[in-house]
Symmetry: C2
Subunit: 163 residues, 2 copies
DNA sequence: AGGAGATAGTTGTAGCGTCAAGTATTTGAT
DNA sequence: ATCAAATACTTGACGCTACAACTATCTCCT
C-alpha cells in the first residue's frame, strides 16, 4: 500500500476522507435520533418517505427504492414499526402480490416530532459547514457516484425529486 | 416533510444524494472484497493500515483511530482476524495495558493480493467518474464535514497523512 | 387455456456492530 | 506511599442486515 501507482496522493486523500465520512456519519445521525426519538436513522427515513407519499402509503418495493434498501431489509424494519404501531400493512387491491405500507396517525406524529431535531443535526454536521458552492459541488459529485452505484436509477426515488 | 423551511431544495437534493451514497457504497465495496478475497471492507482496511505501519504493528487504540472504529469493534474484528491467522496480538512492552496488533506474513500476502481488485473497484465507483477538479472538491468538502464529525481529529489517522 | 418465468414479499439464520460491564494498568494528586 | 480517576482493552448479549430459500401472484407466449 502507500502506493502512488494505484491512486494519486490527491485521489487517496479524497478517498480516505470519503470513507471516514461513510463510517462516521451514520453513527452521528443514529445517536441523535435514538436519544431524542427512539428511532434508528433508517426507521426515521422510512417514516419520512411514507409521510411524503400520497395517502401516506407506498408499496413495499417503491418504499425500498426510496430508502435505498433491499426488500428483505425493509420487510424486517416494517415488521418492527408495525409492532410499535407506527406503520400498518395492507394488501394492495390492484396487485395481490403487493403489500402497501401505510403510516399510522401515531407514526405521523412521531416523524413530525422527530424531524426538527434530525434536521438540526443534518444542518450542524453537513449543511452549515459548507458554502452554497460546496453544496452544489456535493450534489454534482454524489450524483456522479450514484450514476455508477445505481446506474438504472432504481434507488433514486428519494434523491431525484429535488435535483 | 416536503419542507422548504428546513432545507432549501438544493440542500435537500445534495443531502439525499449523500445519504444514498452512504447507504450504497459500503455494499458495493463489501461484495467485491468478499467475493474476490473473503474479506469485509473493514477487515481489508484494518489489514491495509497495519501493512503501512512500521513493523506492520500498531497499538489497538491507534489502529482504531486509523480505521475510524471504536475499540470494542476493533477488538472483535482483530479476534476474528487472529483466528484466521492474518493478525497476531502481542503485549506492549512500554505500557502493559496496551496490546499491539501485528500483521502476520499470511496477513501481508492476503492484503497485497486483495489490493488491486479493491483499488479497481474504488476507481470504477468513485475516482473515474470524477474529474480532477471534482476530486479536489470532494477532498475539501469531506474535510469540512469531518471537522464536525471528528473535531479533535482523533479519527483522522488515515485521512490526514496524504492531504 | 396452460405453463414458464418474472415479480412481490416474507422469513429464518448467521454474522457483525453497539452498548454496558468488567479487568488490568498507569497517572496524578495528596 | 496511597488511592481515585483515567486509560487500554476484552467480553457477552442484543439488535439489525445480508443472504438464501420459500410462497404467492402475475405476465406473456404459444
Amino acid at each position: 500500500m502507500t502506493d502512488a501507482r494505484w491512486l494519486s496522493a490527491e485521489q487517496l486523500s479524497a478517498w480516505k476522507k470519503l470513507i471516514a465520512v461513510v463510517e462516521l456519519l451514520p453513527g452521528t445521525l443514529e445517536s441523535q435520533l435514538q436519544r431524542d426519538s427512539g428511532l434508528s436513522h433508517f426507521e426515521y427515513f422510512t417514516l419520512a418517505m411514507l409521510s411524503e407519499a400520497p395517502d401516506r402509503t407506498l408499496r413495499m418495493t417503491t418504499l425500498a427504492a426510496h430508502t435505498n434498501a433491499t426488500l428483505a431489509r425493509l420487510s424486517h424494519v416494517v415488521s418492527r414499526l408495525e409492532k410499535r404501531g407506527l406503520v400498518r400493512r395492507e394488501p394492495c387491491a390492484e396487485d395481490r402480490r403487493a403489500t402497501n405500507a401505510v403510516l399510522t396517525p401515531v407514526g405521523w406524529t412521531t416523524v413530525v416530532a422527530a424531524a426538527p431535531g434530525h434536521v438540526g443535526t443534518v444542518r450542524e454536521t453537513v449543511i452549515d459547514p459548507l458554502t452554497a458552492a460546496d453544496v452544489a459541488d456535493l450534489d454534482r459529485i454524489m450524483g456522479r457516484i450514484l450514476d455508477v452505484l445505481d446506474p438504472s436509477h432504481v434507488m433514486r426515488g428519494a434523491a431525484q425529486n429535488d435535483g
